[in-house]
Structures are given as C-alpha cells and as structure tokens.
Amino acid sequence: MSGERDRRKPARAGWGLIGRGSVIASPYLWLLIFFLVPFAIVLKISVAEVRLAIPPYTPLFAWPEGGSLELFAVGDNYRLLIEDSLYIRAYANSLKIAAISTLLTLLVGFPLAYAMARAPRAWQASLVMLVILPFWTSFLIRVYAWIGILKNEGMLNGVLRWIGVIDRPLVILNTDIAVYIGIVYSYLPFMVLPLYANLVRMDRSLLEAAADLGCRPAGAFWKITVPLARPGIVAGCFLVFIPAVGEFVIPDLLGGSGTLMIGRTLWTEFFSNRDWPVASAVAVILLLVLIVPIVLFQRHQQAQREREA
C-alpha cells in the first residue's frame, strides 16, 4: 500500500511542476508572441532599405548564389530622423500636446472623481457605470461625433449663435484646440477611474481632523486631499500621457493640416510614402521615447503596492 503511494508521488510532483511552470510561463509567452516578436520584426524593417517589391524593403539576410550568408543592415533611416527636423518637431509636438492634454484631463477629471467619491454610496456604482458607458460605442464614431459638434456650422456654434454670445462661428475644428478637446474627452475615464479609486478610500475623518486643528476646507483640500490623492493622480496622468503621445485618430480627424504629431507622421510614411523602413524607425524611436515614462510608471506602481502591503 505504502509502496504504491510512494511510486505515485514523483509522478504527481512532476505534473505539479509542469502545471506551475506553465502558469508562470504564460505571461512571458504572451509578451514574447504579442510584443517581442512583432517588435523584432519592426526593428528588422527599420534597418532595411526601401525596395519596389513585396514586401517593400530589403531582407535582413541575403544568401547570394555561390556566396556566404550576408547580413544587410543600414542606419540611414535613423540618420534621416535626426537630420530632417520634421521628425524631431513631430516628436516634440506630440510630447507637448500629450503633456498639455494630460494636464487638462487632470483639471477636468479631478473634480469629477472627487464629486463621485463624495456622492451618496448608493449612487456611486451608477456614476462609475456612466464614466465607462462611452466605451460601449466605437471610439471612431465618438470622435466623428465631435466633428459634428465642433465644425463651423456644428452644434456648438449653433447654440452659441442662438444665445447670442457670438455672431461669427468659432473656428475650432481642424485646430490644435479640437485635438485637445478630443484627447481630453477620449482619455477622461483613464484619469477619472484611478482618481476615484483613490479618493473613495480616503478616510474622511482626516478632513475633520484638519478642520479640528484649525484648517479651513480649502486649505485641507490642498494639504490633505491632494497629497493623499497623489498615487491616483500619478497613475491617471501616465495612463493618459503614454497613449496620447502616439495618438493618431484624434489629430487626423480633428486636427488641422498643421497639427504635427508623430502618430500621423508614421501613418504618412507607411501608407502615403510606402516607406516601411522609415516608418519602422519612427516607431522604434517612439517606443524608446515612451520607455522612460513607462518605466517611471511601473516603478511608481511598484512602490505604491509596497507601501500598501
């Protein structure tokens, strides 16, 4: 009896190891298949040259007849990004637009999240639902809807003219302002949800303690609420800033011809110029630019988890 059990044990332990191994490996496998492999392909294309063929770039490895294996890689695409000021301006402008949009989203999102966290408990689930609700409609359609609102003969100008605030339509569509409106609108939930999750957990007796110690409500907001909301503010800002840098749809639909953003540049290189290598180089540099805030964000989240543990 006991011998039988002993014989079975190692087998079971073996299956346990395989099971545990596959659980641990699955996120890495995911990263490998859906991130590292595509990135390697993009990296490969970025060091190739344009060629009128399918695919439209030179292969990385060549095996000429009778010869030996040749590696073919050029840095020309990256040099172009540095030499042609268009690209640098596009990167800089993307960062600027993303930074300003993040700030605006924070200014709009904080009061919203604050009001939600202070609303009666029974309402809060519904309010969170309302914040998420726009996700049920296609992002593209919602951005198109903004065209209808912002264009010269659109709803906004119609209302403003009807109440007599303006007599000539405001030109908003196809300007940077429209891009800001679009980004703030689209990314607002990413700001509101982490802020709400943070603010709703705040112990209200802290504000009472501040008042008790002689602090007016406005002072308590800056001295207690905002510092304690910092993890939520940081998380929300990263969640808006990182995707906003590479945003393509919003500047393309709402921005003007002068709205220079790297996402649009990339699209032009890829589809209009059919210059896959330069487009890939743009993407690789964009990733490198974004790695800094992504790593900062990860560190912040990690530190936050450790503090809470």
């Binding site: 009472e208 303690a209 501040a210 008042a211 008790d212 002689g214 304690l228 503090r307």
Partner: protein, 382 residues
C-alpha cells in the same frame, strides 16, 4: 463604606472648581431625519474637569461630542464654552480639539508634522512651533520617533501621537472619542492612568466618550450615563456605582442583583419591602422622593455587598435569604457564587479570597444563607 451614604445620589455637585460652569450644554438635541440621536441634553462641566460620557453604542454620546467639536449642528439648544456661544463657530475656529477614535493621523506627514499641523494653521512662528512640538512629544514620551511616519508606529504610539496633536494647541476643551478602544487590555489600563496624569499636568478640561464603564470609572471626575439620547444620571463614579438612580444605570455599571417587592411602612429612616423569599423582609434606606407604602419597588444590591454563610443568621434579621450554590467562578482575587433561591431566582454574591484555601468552605450544591446590611440596599422605582 458604612453609614448612610445614600445622599451622594442627590443633586450632583460640580466636582472641581465648583464655580460657574465652564462648558454649558443647554437643552441640546440632534435629529437625523426621524431618528432622535440626542434628546434635550443639559450638562454643566467645570473648568479642569475630566468628564466622561458613558453609554452603549447608539446612545448619542458620540453625536453629542461631535456637536461640541462642530462636526454636527444641534437641531436645538445651545453650547457655551467659557461664556462664548459655539453655535456660530465652524470647527476650525473653535478653541476645542478632538482626539479621534481612529486617531485620524495624516499618513503623509511625520509624527512631528502631524503635531505641528495645528500650530502651522495658526501661523505660529517657526521657532515656537518647534519648541511646542518638542514639548508635546516629550509629554507623551515620543520624542525619539518624531521623524517616523504613522504607518511605522505601533497602535499605542499612534494613540500618543494623536493625543500630542490634540494637546499641542492648548485648547480650552479637549474631546476624546473612545481614545483607548483600539488598544489591548493591558495597554489600555496603563494608558488610562497616563491620560489622567497628563490631564492633571496640562489642566485642560477633558470630555471623553466611552462605552467602557471601567475606563469611565477610572479616568473621570464625573460621569454622565446616557440612554437613548438622554442623560440617565450625572455623578461621580462612586455615586454612580453606589447610588444609581435607575435600574438602567444600576445594571449598566457593574453587576447588580435586583429584587422586586412591595413597599411597606417606613421604620425610622428605613423602608421595609416585602419579598416572598425573605422571611423577615428586605429593607433599604428610604428616599425623600422615594416610593410610598404599597408601591411596587426595586431593591438593588451589588454582589460584593452580599455576605455568604453556611450558618443561618439570627432569627429576625432583615435582608436575609437562603438558597443553594449552583456555580462558583474562581477569579483569583475574588470568587463569584451563583445561588438559586428556593423560588428559583438567581442571586450573585462576590467574596474576596482572603485566605489561600478560602474557596473550600462553601462548595457547589451547598445550602447557604445570604445577607447584607440595610445601607447596601438601593431603592429604585419600578
């Protein structure tokens, strides 16, 4: 305690000072919708007094405290502190500080930062802030931990930071909302004495809210026992215990045996009460406002006042009943005997274990005789 001590149950004197009330609560009520949390409460509290609001949860004691701090607005009545009406003042302008049950320490500030917070609001000069923070931390013996953050402290240390923070502004009135509830028993008892010592040293009027009768008895000069939003009794701890004025107060503070009987004649200051189980009846010191002959009354006796003996008392002894011991709880310093009277009623008697083998004299199942002096009886209205 011998002699007629029943008069301590008369109108409660203002304990220390005995002058005009420092804190005057006049007919204060608070309704939350249809719920009456505090119902027409009036209290006078003297300068420098350590006053306790005692009651079970939901009796309105915390609501009353929060009205003193300014976090709730009374639905009716007024609050005067040192002659100033507090009603118009928001919490941040009242010369009152509160120590919160959760301590409510600011997690993003150090211990010193927490203590300095109130002084910074008052724009006290920097050097003075540093000096007063150091002084307050020394008072609660936390000086070495000034640079720590609250999450790096133990529960007892956090409690002391909260105390220092609420004392550092030298308020006219310090409110303590269940300040020791989060501490374990040993630490709580030790902290009670520290709290009394600190209160005497700083001389600030303390109002503490607690549901723990031992805590209230230990720290307070006077106690207000609250029941469903009203004050049931205001007295010194001794008077609350020895001369409760209602069954509620008698049962809330300590253990008590309550007998229901019919009042008979008054014999020279004592009121005789007929009780089926007592052959010679019960007797208690009569009360001027007490029940008349013929009324149904309650007679309360504390367990430690009841003598337990194997031999019957001399015939004709009042306050003497007999029964059988059903259980003995040995508690070290004392033993508690549960005695079943012949009628089936249970009576509890507590005896001090003076000798090491004292418990053997009366065993379980023994026939015993219980008796107590007339002065130990407390007469209550039914």
């Amino acid at each position: 305690m011998s002699g007629r001590t029943q008069d301590v149950g008369g109108e409660a004197p203002l304990a220390p000072g005995n002058g005009d009330a420092f804190l005057r609560i006049e007919g204060v009520s608070k309704n939350f919708g249809a719920v009456v949390a505090v119902d027409d409460v009036s209290l006078d509290i003297a300068r420098g007094e350590f006053f306790a609001l005692l009651g079970p949860s939901g009796c309105g004691k915390t609501t009353l405290l929060r009205m003193l701090a300014g976090f709730e607005t009374p639905s009716g009545g007024g609050i005067l502190l040192d002659g100033v009406d507090l009603a118009a003042l928001p919490p941040y302008r009242r010369p009152v500080n509160m120590m919160f049950q959760s301590y409510a320490l600011f997690p993003h500030m150090t211990v010193a930062g927490n203590v300095a917070f109130g002084l910074r609001q008052d724009r006290v000069p920097r050097a003075e802030i540093a000096a007063r923070v150091a002084e307050a931390l020394a008072l609660v013996e936390l000086s070495p931990l000034a640079r720590r953050k609250p999450h790096q402290l133990s529960g007892g240390q956090r409690q002391r930071v909260a105390l220092a923070r609420s004392l550092v502004k030298r308020p006219k009135l310090l409110l303590l909302d269940e300040p020791l509830a989060a501490l374990d028993k040993k630490l709580r008892e030790q902290t009670q004495f520290e709290l009394m010592e600190i209160q005497q040293r700083v001389g600030i009027t303390f109002v503490i809210v607690t549901h723990d009768q031992d805590e209230a008895m230990t720290v307070a000069d006077r106690i207000a026992v609250m029941e469903e939003g009203r004050i049931a009794q205001v007295d010194t701890p001794a008077a609350i215990y020895e001369a409760p004025r209602s069954r509620y107060v008698a049962e809330f503070i300590g253990d008590v045996n309550i007998f229901e009987g019919r009042a008979q004649a008054v014999n020279g200051g004592d009121l005789a009460v007929a009780l089926a189980e007592a052959p010679c009846g019960l007797a208690a010191p009569a009360r001027a406002d007490g029940p008349a002959a013929g009324d149904t009354v309650l007679l309360a006796v504390r367990p430690e006042k009841i003598e337990i003996a194997s031999a019957p008392p001399p015939p004709g002894t009042v306050n003497a009943i007999a029964g059988q011991v059903t259980e003995i709880a040995y508690l070290g310093s004392t033993s508690t005997y549960r005695v079943r009277l012949d009628s089936g009623r249970m009576v509890v008697s507590t005896q001090t274990n003076r000798l090491r083998h004292g418990g053997e004299a009366i065993g379980r199942g023994a026939r015993v005789h219980l008796s107590w002096p007339v002065e130990a009886s407390i007469l209550l209205r039914a």
